[in-house]
Every structure is written in C-alpha cells, then in structure tokens.
Amino acid sequence: MNDNVIKVENLVKYFDGRCVLDGINLTVPRGCIYGLLGRNGAGKTTIIRILLGTEPATRGRTLLLDTESTNLSPKIRGRIGCVAEGHNLIQSYMVSRLIKLCKDLSLQWNDESFDNLMETFRLPRDRRVKDLSMGMRAQLNLALAMAIEPELLILDDPTLGLDTVARRQFIELAIEVIQKQDRTILFCSHILSDVERIADRVGILAAGKLVVDCPLEQLKERVKKLRIIFPEIPPENLYLTEIINQQIQGREMTITVANWNRQKQAILETFKPSSCTEIPMSLEDIFIECTKPEQEVITSS
C-alpha cells in the first residue's frame, strides 16, 4: 500500500482562459495533517474539488488512496470524509432526512459518535438545513463527515462561520481524529493559528505554484526574517538568492530569505553589517511574507 494518501502530479487548471493552477505537485503521506494555505483565489478549493472528482483537471492527475480522482469507487469514497467550502448540504431537506440519507448511503456509520457530536453542537433535527445558521451548518457538515470514521478527512475552510467555542471544539475533534492511527487530514483554512496548532506539514499556493511544501517546523527554520544594520548606506545587491522580501530604511535593511543556510550567512557577513538580528515569525507572518503581491525590493529613505 502506498504511503501517500494524496498525490497530485503536474496539476494544471484553467478557468475560461485564466490559469489558476500551473503544475502543482503535492503528496500527503499517511497520518499527516497537511495545511494547504493560500490567499483568496489561489486555487485551494480547486485542488480539493479536483481531488474529490467534482471538478475535472485541465492537465495532470490526482490520486486519492491510490485511485485516480476521476475513478473513485464508492468504497474509496466511503473512506473519505469531506467538509466542502460553503458547507454544501441539500438545503431543502430536514436535518433528520439529511442525516438518514447520509447514514443509508455510508458504508460505515458511528451512531454513538454522531449523536455525541450532535449533542455537543446542540443541533436541532427538526429544522430545514436552510433554516440553520451558517455555523450550525458547518457543525452539521462536520458531524456528518466525522460519523463515517474516515480514513482521510478533507476540510475546506471548515471553521468558516464557527464561533470561537465551536472552533475550539472543532480543533479538539481534529486532534481526536489525529490520535487515531493512520488517519490523514488535508485542510485549508484562513485561521492560521489553528493551522499552526495542528498541522505538521504545510503547503502555500501563490501565483499558481506551490511555493512552500514542507514540515511546519522546517518552514520556520528555512524562512528567516532578518534586520540588518549597516555602517553606511546598505549595498544595492547583497548577492543573496531566494530573497522573499527586502525593505531598506536608511541604514537599516529588513530582508526575508527562503532556505536560509550557512552559505547565505557567510555571504551576508562579507558586507560587514553592524548588526544582524533575526525577527521571529509565526506561520501567519511567514504566510504574509510569502504571499505578498509585490515581492520586490522596497527602498525608502
């Protein structure tokens, strides 16, 4: 059995002449919690939809549990739990009817676990789905996805609409899933603190490419933000590669560099800076740096 639960190979997607994904390669190993990040319109939801087979790829291929996304059998689908963006449920149905439908169609269903979740979230069964608030729909969606005890959980902005308490409950639920052996989660979220808390691997989409794909700890190690003070005007060119961002203010230069290593350190030291201090970055800071629209050198006097 392949260790990679999700595999994306050279994925390209065009929407009416506009390229959204330009050759994405991605693998998610078994047992991994993968946080897929990107700005609005970066293509996160598109990747998930292509993975689930609801959107055809323009080029490339995607595999889920060793099966092509376009040929997912009911058995494979039964092993995948999904919370789609916007909480796509059948709005006109009563909650009870929707639950019955999901239960009848599922290959396995944990009644106890589901009932617990329904109680925890305090969801009514006698109302129509469209009459629920957005947060309640999110919770219902989540409960339905968790009830089938999925091997792979795909969550597309699952906490959208959830209040703080519900969000915390979701995170704890996700951790509970993580603790089960061989469970894998792929999720997208804009709340990076949540991602930082549970993800062990992160991917960042920018300009149609996957610019970051590594374990979270490694990311923090490899992307460095430095404040460098030069004795005189900073040099125009530091001869450093992979500069993400650079800002000069007087004698002070702030640079963000990817794949910081000793070689780059040595190059920097040749310019004999007065001081060089590292600015700690959270995942959110790294994300902002990586996805800033104008990644240029900014000079201000």
């Binding site: 330009d22 050759g23 323009t58 300009a207 149609g208 490419k209 610019v211 993400i244 990644q295």
Partner: protein, 560 residues
C-alpha cells in the same frame, strides 16, 4: 484505446441523435411541400376521363340521342393525413387491414379471421332459418376452413394454409348473401372455393412449377382506395323524348340491360399479379382463363418509372365490366328485368387506374374482353404536356413548393441521398411517404427509377441534382477543418470529421459542434497563436508551457 473507443461511441451516439432530429424536421418540411403540391394540383391533373369508354358498340356511343357517352373516370383525392404512419398503422390493424388477422368484423357474432396457430380460417355468422310456421330462427354458425376441407368443429385434418389471400370483395359486401368465397395460398399455389351455406369445398389444381403467375390480390383489386376513385358510367340517353314512361337508362332497345362494374357477379374473378398483370380466373374451374390487362403505367417527372406494379404504385383500382342481354321495346315497356337475366351477363372488359408513387400522376386504361387495350390516358408525349411536370411546376406556388422540397432534400445527408438513389425501387410506394432516413420520393430517387435513360447518364444527372448538397457539405467540411486545426485535433481526427461531414452534411456538422472538445484556447507565448490548455506542448510550435500572466516567485521551500 479505451478512451478512443469511448470517444467514438460518444460521437456515434451524438450523431444518431442529431441525424434523427434533423431527419424528422426535414420530413415535415417535405411533407408540407407535398401537401401544398397536391392541394394546388390543377383539376385537369387530379381527374382523368376516357369517353367513350370503348366497351359498348360504337353505334351506341355515336347515337345522336345520347346526352353523355359511357365513360371511365378516375380522380385523385387529396388526403395528406393518409400518407402518415399513424393513419397507416391504425388502418393496417383494423379488420381487413394489412396486418390484421381479422378479415371481417361486422358484429360480435359475425366475423372472419385467420388463425395463425391452426392455419385455418374461422368463420362465424348468424344463419337465419325460416321455420314451417314462418317464424325466423337464428342460429350462430361457426366453421373452420383449411386447404383440405371445411368443418364445423376444429379439425387438424383440414390442413394448414400458409400464406392465404382471400377474395376481399366478398368481405366488403354481404358475405352471407353470396355465400361463396375464393381463396388462394401463395405457398400451396392453389385456389380454393368455399360455399358457406351449402358448406361446399372445391380445391383448384396446383399451379405448375413453371407457371409464372404470382397473385398478390384477388377479387376486389384496390390499394389505398381513399386516394383514388375509379368509376365507370353508362351512357345517358335523352329518354324522355323517346320513351316518356321509362326512367331507367338501361331500358333502351338494343342496349345491354346493365353494366356491372365489379366482380360480384360473373364467371370470372380478377387476379392481380406481382408484375401488375391482371388475369381472369374462371370461378368454376379455378384456373386462369385469360389475361385481362395490366395496371396502367403512369407518367413520371423523369422519363418513365417502368410498368406499374402493386408495389410501385401509390394507389390502384380495377373493375370488370359485365353487360347484360339486350331487350326489345316490348320487354322494356311491359316487364322489369328479371333475376334470371343476371345469368346472361357477359364479360365486356376491364378498366383500371393507377396513381404514381408521389401521387401526382394518374392513368386510366380500358381493356376489352380479349384483354386488348382499347383506350388509355396519361399525357406522356412531351415534357411540356407531362402532367407530373405540371403538378410540380405548372400551378401557382407549385414551383416554390417544389424548390423548398428540393432544398430540404439537399439538406439531407448526402450519403443517405446516394443510398436513396441506389435503393429507389426497393421501397413500396406508400412507405416512401413515411420515409425518414432514405427518401424513395426524392428527386434523386425519381431519377434513379427512370428506366428510359442509361445508367451513366442517370448517375450523372443524380449527381447534378445533388449539387447543392455537395456544395453545402464541402463548405461545412472546410469550416470544420479550420476549426479542428485551431483546436489541435490530430490528423486522423480531422480526416474523420471531414469525411463524416462530407457524408452527412448538416447533421455531421452539428454533430461536430456538439462533440468537439470543450477546451479553452490561450495565446501561446512562443508562436502567438491559440493553443490548447489541456496539452503539454503547443500543438502548433511544440513549445512547452509558459503562463506569462502568472509571476510566481523564483524561490521555493520544498521538501520531498
């Protein structure tokens, strides 16, 4: 390979759907054009008369006391709905219809049907007996007729008819009155005569193996009788001047007492052959007596469509004419014609009429008692006086209808038009009016049936008729080729579509538009031409992908 097969199946499926819908649409256009043509046909084409008919002595016909001479006339009746399949279907399943095994159904107690299982005819009727006390007693009688006899109980020893034809005239009138029916079996090649009341059964001799007779209809010879009316009218005299007390036409000295234009009485039965020949069957001996004539050949738009046969005429009818004995003036004054005079009826001849496949040409013919043609009418001598040409182009709005019909035929797939040319004579005439995919009534098929011109000229003329269709197909194929090249379809695919469009014309083009890959085209950064997004390389310049509108950063933080 699987993908190719799936794609081919999908294209074929789309093609069939398109072809069916386009064919139905074109059918209705052609149908309304045909209706328009038949409604606007001049009266002189819709009816034709032979006067005098030629069956009576000439001195009678030339008698100055005649107001009107004897005439044989035929008239086309415009019934466009009759040509439709739904009408034909209900007609064929009704008693006496083509597909019905019930030959006659007068009431729940009076019927005749052919039992496929036993291969026998079953008759049921009410027999009325007059009792000694003058009361009428009715009893239901049912009996079974096979090629070996007749019985009141089902009996396997009666044998099996295999492909029987019954004398349908008996079933149109009072069956029980005449009490005699003649049957023919195509496989057994014999005639059978059954007397219903006396319950007699006569088996005729088997036709010799080298006998070329192939009867298809016996007795009352007609087809699609609602479309064609055939009549024979006796002469009309100015009787009031000569015999003021007499009102009956027939009571004129020297004139036969009656003319019976049917086969109800008389010693002969009409037999229609597959070739269109009409023979006389002697009812006593159940053998062929003589040839009575043939169905008349009709005019055609192109040359001639050959001899008229039951298959290639839309409608036909034939009637025998029997004449009674002549009477003296005293007999006429003093007596009414008696029943015994029926026995002296003599066969005088045959009148027959045919209507062409497309319903525009009518012909009538008169044969004498020896089977010699006396008179015929259809105007064939010159193209200008050709009735069919007049029907298509002579009357007001007829040219417009004909042109629209022609254009509708041109929109039909060229390959099917060619198939229509090749199979022009294969279809039964009435079926041509309901044809959807092959068009036996198209101008091309009409030319194919022109047996007066030689094959190479026929074929060239047909190609000429197909010129608009060919030009349209070429233009559409060129458009498809251009689009397919833009889309980057493979050479084989382009070839396939060009050939398909040349073969299927408009239907092929529509199929292409529905089946073409729905891909986005973007401008290639290398050659500047549109290229497909679902291909790794530009199908024009072969360059790899470059998405200039996206400017990803040069750095990557990846870990394999």
């Amino acid at each position: 390979m699987k993908r190719f097969t799936n794609c081919s199946v999908r294209i074929l499926a789309t093609g069939f759907v398109v072809l069916t819908l386009v064919s139905i649409l074109l059918f209705w256009i052609r149908f309304f054009c045909s209706v328009s043509l038949s409604e606007r046909m001049p009266d002189e084409i819709k009816s034709t008369v032979i006067e005098p008919s030629g069956l009576l002595p000439l001195d009678f016909e030339n008698d100055p006391n005649l107001e009107r001479r004897s005439r044989a006339s035929a008239q086309i009746r415009s019934e466009p709905l009759l040509s439709l399949g739904i009408t034909e279907y209900f007609d064929s399943i009704s008693p006496g219809g083509r597909r019905s095994r019930v030959i006659l159904f007068q009431s729940e107690k009076n019927w005749v049907y052919f039992d496929n299982k036993s291969g026998q005819f079953v008759f049921r009727f009410i027999e009325t007996e007059i009792m000694p006390d003058s009361n009428k007693m009715e009893r239901e009688v049912q009996f079974y007729i096979g090629p070996e006899g007749i019985s009141e109980i089902p009996d396997k020893t009666l044998g099996r008819f295999i492909e029987p034809i019954a004398d349908s005239s008996k079933f149109k009138t009072s069956l029980w009155k005449s009490g005699e029916i003649i049957l023919y079996d195509k496989k057994l090649r014999r005639f059978f005569k059954i007397g219903l009341k006396p319950k007699t059964f006569v088996k005729g001799p088997e036709l010799d193996t080298d006998d070329t007779h192939e009867p298809v209809q016996i007795g009352l010879l007609d087809k699609n009788q609602l479309l064609l009316q055939l009549a024979w009218l006796p002469p009309e005299f100015k009787i009031s001047k000569l015999y003021p007390n007499q009102t009956a036409v027939w009571n004129y000295p020297g004139l036969p007492t009656k003319a019976v234009p049917s086969s109800e009485t008389g010693q002969y039965l009409l037999i229609l052959d597959k070739t269109g020949r009409i023979d006389l069957l002697d009812k006593e001996t159940l053998t062929f007596a003589a040839a009575a004539g043939r169905l008349p050949e009709t005019a055609a738009l192109f040359g001639s469509e050959g001899p008229a046969t039951p298959k290639n005429t839309l409608s036909y009818a034939a009637k025998t004419i029997y004449l009674g004995a002549t009477r003296s003036i005293e007999d006429i004054r003093d007596k009414e014609p008696s029943e015994s005079e029926e026995e002296t009826l003599r066969y005088a001849g045959l009148i027959a009429a045919s209507l062409s496949r497309d319903g525009t040409a009518l012909a009538v013919i008169v044969y004498d008692e020896k089977g010699q043609m006396k008179k015929r009418t259809y105007r064939t001598s010159s193209r200008r006086s050709n009735t069919v040409t007049t029907a298509y182009f002579g009357s007001p709005w007829a040219p417009a209808s004909s042109i629209v019909k022609y254009l509708a035929e041109s929109l039909h797939p060229p390959v099917l038009s060619i198939a229509s040319y090749l199979t022009a004579s294969s279809f039964e005439a009435a079926a041509g009016h309901r044809a959807l995919f092959l068009l036996p009534n198209s101008f091309i098929a009409m030319k194919a049936r022109d047996d007066r011109s030689r094959m190479p000229f026929r074929a060239m003329f047909a190609l000429l008729l197909m010129t608009p269709a060919i030009l349209l197909a070429l233009w559409l194929a060129a458009r498809i080729l251009k689009d397919a090249s833009t889309l980057g379809l493979s050479r084989n695919a382009r070839r396939f579509w060009v050939i398909a469009t040349l073969a299927f014309g408009l239907a092929g083009y529509i199929t292409y538009r529905l089946s073409r890959p729905k891909v986005t085209l973007v401008t290639c950064a290398n050659c500047g031409k549109p290229r497909r997004t679902d291909m790794d390389k530009c199908h024009r310049c072969g360059s790899k992908w470059d998405v200039p509108e996206l400017t990803p950063p040069a750095w990557r933080v990846l870990n394999g």
